[in-house]
């Protein structure tokens, strides 16, 4: 029952969030200057008659509330409409890209969680050079924006060593893995460093706790102490942060998608905003918001699993 009410309240919250987002985004885009005509005609001069014809064809001369309600009505009917620029169904356009972004974000999330936690734990348990090196490395990592990481990786691994391709997302699993390794690494760099730092701090804190001392004094083998008493407790804050970091990757993917010419939702969102392609911007925004809410809900569930003191409640934290 608790799980059902949790899910129901989350769903209701999601619906309200989506409705509000759609209104705000639509309004913002409507108020922002410019129009898709400049993109359609390449910004080159065309006759006034042509401009009028384009405006009529795409309903660009209708008032805001009218066009928003019109859009909303269609969406509720399951139809996201057609892209102004590509004259193609929005659902088709998005389906073509959602897989790439999902792969990229999942790959980066995996890198963040694995390397972040491992480095953090190593750093906490092995004092000395290892700890210092990891501290220095993570400092650089946190301070490196993903586009800078992208440029460095391309010059080293593509132009220098010829290990990875500079552009594209690849087809098929292995090819994708090969193409998206550099983008994922660039995307994951700062998050990994952050999670490593946090894991280190949390583990250090746990190591200094009384229950750890007690466990050690009772002669429990060190690996077991670390595993049961240090890591498990340290994972609570790490999960929260890692979850939020991963959710943030969805937005951060824009930068690396552009840098590596990867055809994903993020770069398409940017392009569509530039082109004022209303239906596409709306659909992608809603999708991203939904994904964000979903990831956060998953984090909440994980939280409850790790820490028995936490109960799933209807209200979000």
């Amino acid at each position: 029952v608790r799980v059902i009410s949790f899910a129901a309240s989350r769903l209701a919250g999601l619906a309200v969030t989506l409705l509000l987002t759609s209104f705000v985004v639509y309004g913002a885009l409507y108020l922002a200057p410019g129009n898709p005509i400049a993109i359609l005609t390449g910004g080159r001069p065309v006759s006034q008659r042509t401009i009028t014809a384009i405006q009529a064809e795409y309903g660009l001369n209708k008032p805001f509330v009218f066009s928003y309600l019109n859009w909303l009505e269609k969406v509720i009917g399951g139809n996201f409409g057609k892209s102004i620029v590509f004259r193609e169904n929005v659902s088709t356009l998005i389906t073509a890209r959602v897989g790439t972004t999902a792969f990229l974000v999942a790959y980066a999330a995996l890198l963040i969680i694995i390397f972040g936690v491992v480095l953090g734990v190593v750093s906490a348990l092995r004092k000395g050079p290892a700890d210092t090196a990891i501290l220095a490395g993570t400092t650089v990592g946190i301070a490196t924006p993903s586009f800078v990481a992208a440029i460095m990786m391309i010059s080293v691994f593509t132009l220098g060593l010829h290990w990875f391709p500079a552009i594209g997302a690849g087809t098929g699993f292995a090819d994708r893995l090969w193409h998206l390794t550099m983008p994922s690494a660039a995307l994951a760099l700062a998050g990994t460093a952050y999670v490593a730092r946090l894991t280190r701090a949390a583990a250090n804190e746990e190591l200094a706790r009384e229950h750890v001392d007690t466990a050690r004094s009772r002669g429990i083998p060190e690996p077991l102490v670390v595993q049961r008493h240090v890591l498990r407790n340290a994972l609570i804050p790490v999960t929260t942060v890692a979850g939020l970091t991963v959710a943030g990757l969805i937005a951060g993917s824009v930068v690396v998608e552009n840098a590596f010419a990867v055809n994903g939702l993020g770069s398409y969102l940017v392009t569509s905003v530039e082109q004022k392609d209303f239906p596409v911007v709306q659909a992608i925004t809603l999708l991203l918001v939904a994904a964000f809410v979903l990831v956060n809900s998953v984090v909440d569930v994980l939280y409850a699993l790790i820490d028995p003191r936490v109960r799933l409640t209807g209200a979000s934290r």
Binding site: G34, A38, S146, G248, S267
Partner: protein, 565 residues
Amino acid sequence: MSEDPRQLRAGYLSGHLSRRELLRYAALLGLSGPALTAFLSACGSSSSTVGATAPAIGTTVTTPPAKGTVARVNWGLFYEPPGLDWIYCYNYEENTVVANITESLMRLTPQFTIEPSLAESFSEPDPLTKVYRIRQGVKFSDGSPMTVQDVVFSLRRNLDPASYWNFAYVNVKSIDQSGQAEVTIKMKQPDEVFHPLMSTPAGGVGKASYVQAKGKSYGTPQVGALGTGPFVFQSWAQGTSIVLARNANYWDTAHAAKVGQIHFSFIPEESTMTTALLSGGIDGAYHTPYSGLSKLHASSAGKLYLGKSMIFTEIIVAGPSGPLADHKLRTALLLSIDRQALAKSVYNNGATALKNTVIPLAEWGYGQAQAKAAWAKLAPPKVDLTQAKQLVDQAGAQAKAPMTIATRASFQRYIDIATIVQASASQIGLSVHIKPIAPNDYGDLFFSSKARAGIDMFISENYADIPEPLEIVYPAVVPAQQYNYNNYNNPKVTSDLTQAIRQTSDPRRAALILDAQAVMANDLAALPLANPAVPLFLNKRITGAPASFCYLYYPWARDIGSSGQ
């Protein structure tokens, strides 16, 4: 005016890294401060030596001929074309792709002449009648023959104002079949710009039954396009690639494609495009980023060409009033700008300076000798601050008023140019304020007087579609024409150009335009700056592509093949 989407992107990147408070460590992405400083210092040393092997700027038209076939070529585009229906193809990359699929009645050659293509011949029995004899034996890529009905249907599509090429048809009265293999176009008034435009998509031919059956989905990623060209549309993975395959039914057998497949990728980021070319991930691209020219030139991965182009950069005077209404101040401002340094720094040695005309010498497809002689008589683009200051003094109170130059936000070349204009103007005591305009809004400056309110001048990088200077000049300087924003009106110029547009003889038309050019060189209705070349990079394994600006309308990929290396 040509909006490079790759440039628009950078501005949006900042602020997209927002995460929760807890995680606020996002990077600041910006290029204003340091980039500008670096830029200005580069301006100072712009006379830096160019290596002995530096490519010729803007004169190359072809590359060494292909020696053999190639199975696959990867080509880079700097944005994804919105569609491949030729009547909506009106900008760089959509034209780059569609030129290989949909051919036109006439063909723009790499040398900037107009030659027969799907039309076998052209005649003009009187100034109001244009007759095209349609080539027989031409097949669409599906094997069906191209008919006169297809031609009539295709040309008539442009009579709909929704066609971006509608402007070419403003003086057209009717388009009809006039014989078994003949189409006659009747004009409302003489218009010598119409015929050369038949080498662009304005004269494109598609298969009537196919286009009608597909309706609005013709040219979309799912349906693609069908034409007579050397390549066939094969697939379009939205956002990723467009694939064209060799057309086995191509009618022009002497020029059948030597490339089996051409894969187009979309690479908006400038540095990514440059890297992809350097690493061999992409075999070639037209209009490669100017920012990467020195790297591409130095690379052993392939060769960089800086082809002949019809692109021109100018400052447009935005309205009839304000300080720039004063001829003295326009002249003074242009005298203060170092156009040669600008061509080198803004375009990274990929452009040449314009003299006092917006018609690059390269644009003359006819009357070249006359144009060359006239060009020689124009004053060299020199800086003369003494004369400029005198003119400013003579202008009096008008000169004290600050001026505003509009620039497109996040478009580095325009920002660079605006900065140069501002710095140059301040040297002669004029004050210029830079007003950045949202990328999407910038195009409105060309259409709406409301958008131009409060703006004295704006920067434009535009191109002529055809080697006919009238296409650009006539609507910009004849009174009451669409792009004559500052109500420029010189009876001599108006008279010359209105005669020219009716003049069927090439030498006489050239003479009239050049007479007008000489007058305009003094009047300065707009301030000409540069003639950017077309950067083309080809991997060492391929060659043959034309190097000139013709690639927007000429089926360029048919000439590519193996270099033998």
